[in-house]
């Protein structure tokens, strides 16, 4: 007992800046202290092996993207010897299409984020306020959607978007993608808004604020952090989704990046030009990489949203 007490502050002081809740932080990592050197070394070795496995293909891709087609065939595959060039990147920019794919993906991501954030805000607010049974029942129905795999409903989606004349449009793709992300977004929103103390609502109501006033002056400002997380969740979902664009779009002018890269890589022109394909993939990751480095916490939480999918 005494030992625990005296050691607690030291433990707190040596803890790295990790993004966890304060409560969790206070109660962690007791066992590490007792670990032997050998097991720590073992952890280091195994952790490093996995790191190599994670990084090796990425490194390979980046390296190859700086080769010319001729160098790709002859130069060292893993070391940057034998000359590097930016020619693949300039071919990517010269080729038609890739710019369109980028624009479409950005449009899709922004549109999806806006729809998902706004809808989950409005719905989450009503669910948390529990005004009537209607919102409680709706919440259950929406949660059920988490269990439905999107693969199971692509055939009806294909026909419905055709009938509604939104097949092969960015608008239709945004609607369907947003709908598929809504259940998790609402759940994230509800769990966060539940943390707002009831007294704040009551105080505003006493001051004469109606539901709309409370929504704009209390809920939206308080919900900013979870809005960021939902934006990351839906933005990632939109930027990287392959299946829905494959099923719901067709023309080249509505092709998004993941599908575009696939088309690009299987086209006659580039099927054998591996460096150009790799350069395209590298370029497609760059926006996310910058966002990840800038917003690491929101990213980790946003990715957590996929745990529920």
């Amino acid at each position: 007992m005494v030992a625990t007490l005296t050691k607690a502050p030291r433990r707190a002081a040596t803890r790295p800046r990790v993004p966890t809740k304060a409560g969790a932080r206070a109660s962690t990592l007791g066992g590490i202290r007792g670990r032997s050197k050998a097991s720590r070394l073992g952890a280091f070795v195994l952790g490093t092996i996995w790191l190599v496995f994670v990084l090796a293909p990425i490194y390979y891709m980046v390296l190859i993207s700086f080769r010319s087609p001729a160098q790709y065939l002859t130069a060292n595959a893993w070391l940057p010897t034998g000359g590097l060039t930016l020619s693949s990147y300039s071919s990517v920019f010269d080729s038609s299409g890739i710019g369109t794919y980028f624009r479409n993906s950005a449009e899709l991501a922004v549109g999806t984020i806006i729809v998902v954030v706004l809808l989950s805000l409005a719905a989450g607010y009503r669910i948390v306020r529990r005004g009537s049974r209607f919102s409680a029942v709706s919440f259950r129905v929406i949660l059920f959607g988490i269990a439905i795999p999107i693969q199971a409903i692509v055939i009806p989606l294909y026909f419905m978007t055709n009938k509604m004349h939104i097949y092969d449009t960015m608008f239709g793709l945004i609607l369907v993608l947003a709908a598929s992300l809504i259940p998790v977004a609402v759940l994230l929103m509800v769990n966060y808004l539940r943390l707002i103390p009831r007294q704040l609502y009551d105080a505003m109501a006493v001051d004469g604020a109606g539901p709309w006033g409370i929504f704009t002056h209390l809920v939206i400002p308080m919900a900013r952090p979870v809005m960021a997380v939902i934006s990351v969740y839906s933005g990632l979902g939109a930027w990287n989704n392959f299946l829905l664009p494959l099923i719901l779009t067709q023309s080249n002018s509505n092709t998004v990046l993941p599908l575009g890269m696939y088309k690009f890589a299987s086209s006659d022109q580039y099927a054998l030009n591996v460096p150009v394909v790799m350069a395209t993939v590298v370029l497609s990751v760059l926006p996310l990489l910058f966002l990840y480095l800038g917003l690491r916490r929101q990213f980790v939480k946003g990715i957590g949203g996929f745990a529920l999918r």
């Binding site: 066992g31 919102s135 709706s138 129905v141 009806p156 609607l175 392959f242 494959l246 696939y262």
Partner: protein, 319 residues
């Protein structure tokens, strides 16, 4: 009960029955306004297609013609069709191997990056990189790493005289499924690592202190403290691995299209072929319904096994 007390609390002055109904009606109206856009979008593009998919599984339909009622024809075909049966087997194999490949590794790594050393935080950041790549992007990347003649692995095999590296990883029926399992693990282990990291961080230090007071070794405290305490993380992560791989489609579509032969043709791939290539949408819908049922059953199991509110629990862990 809860609803009415909420109404009362909000405005204590309201007492008369008619004023109460008026307040309730107002609350209902506000809920309607707030919920409708979400319900409309979700209903139109998730609920309606779900019902439609089940309905289509009882019909014959090839787009051009009318929808014809088929009774249980598609279903009896599904259960007697060797092609679908094989797809079901491949799907289960993929799920089983994915579980074996992902869950233990993710648990070990999650515990590892929950540790205090600074370098582990750096590792944790790098471990997440695969989650930034789109499935299409990482498939193309792996395709070239594994490319038989000029790929990175083949190059190593040639230059380090390790012939076993230069194989047709995706082109041989015996290897393709395992290769896909490894690529899927590369993509998703980082994500499951997060679940276990959060789970490990939530274990109270007192439990380890108590164990070490009792003289427990590192191994013993793993078996008797860490593992039992991580049970919800294990259930959550395992279920997600299983649901994810039972309905898996993207990487297989891009890398093998279900081949070589039918060695990687999972149910989702089968459904895509039957529907969008052979335009037998009735039968494809039966396969899709099987996928849907698998997803729903596993999700319900997840909720049951990890207790009510596990959905929140999962999320809280990551929060």
């Amino acid at each position: 009960m809860v609803a009415s007390s909420a109404v009362l609390n909000r405005n204590p002055a309201v007492r008369t029955p008619s004023a109460k109904t008026a307040a309730r009606r107002r609350a209902f109206f506000t809920d309607l306004v707030g919920m409708s856009p979400t319900l409309a979008l979700y209903g139109a593009f998730i609920i309606v297609p779900t019902v439609f998919a089940v309905f289509l599984s009882f019909t014959h339909w090839n787009v051009d013609g009318p929808i014809k009622w088929a009774g249980f024809a598609n279903w009896s075909r599904f259960f007697s069709d060797p092609v679908s049966y094989h797809s079901l087997l491949v799907t289960l194999e993929l799920a089983g191997f994915s579980w074996l490949a992902q869950t233990p590794v993710a648990m070990a790594l999650g515990i590892f990056i929950a540790g205090t050393q600074r370098y582990r935080a750096v590792y944790a950041t790098l471990y997440l990189l695969p989650l930034l790549l789109s499935t299409a992007g990482l498939s193309l990347m792996w395709e070239d790493v594994l490319f038989p003649q000029y790929g990175g692995l083949a190059w190593l095999g040639r230059h380090l005289h390790m012939a076993f590296l230069s194989r047709t990883w995706l082109g041989s029926p015996n290897l393709a499924l395992y290769t896909i399992v490894v690529i899927i693990a590369w993509q998703f282990v980082p994500f499951h690592t997060l679940i276990f990291q959060a789970g490990r961080r939530a274990i109270p230090a007192e439990l380890y202190d108590a164990a070490s007071v009792d003289g427990a070794s590192v191994r013993q405290s793993f078996w008797h403290v860490t593992l039992p305490q991580l049970r919800y993380s294990i259930v959550t992560s395992s279920t997600l691995v299983l649901v994810g791989s039972l309905t898996y489609f993207d990487i297989i579509y891009i890398l093998t299209q279900g081949g070589p032969g039918d060695s990687t043709r999972v149910l989702a791939m089968d459904m895509y072929n039957v529907g969008f290539n052979q335009t037998e949408f009735g039968y494809a819908s039966a396969i899709a319904t099987v996928l849907g049922v698998i997803g729903i059953v596993l999700a319900v199991l997840l909720v049951r096994l990890s207790g009510f509110g596990s959905m929140e629990g999962t999320q809280e862990g990551i929060w």
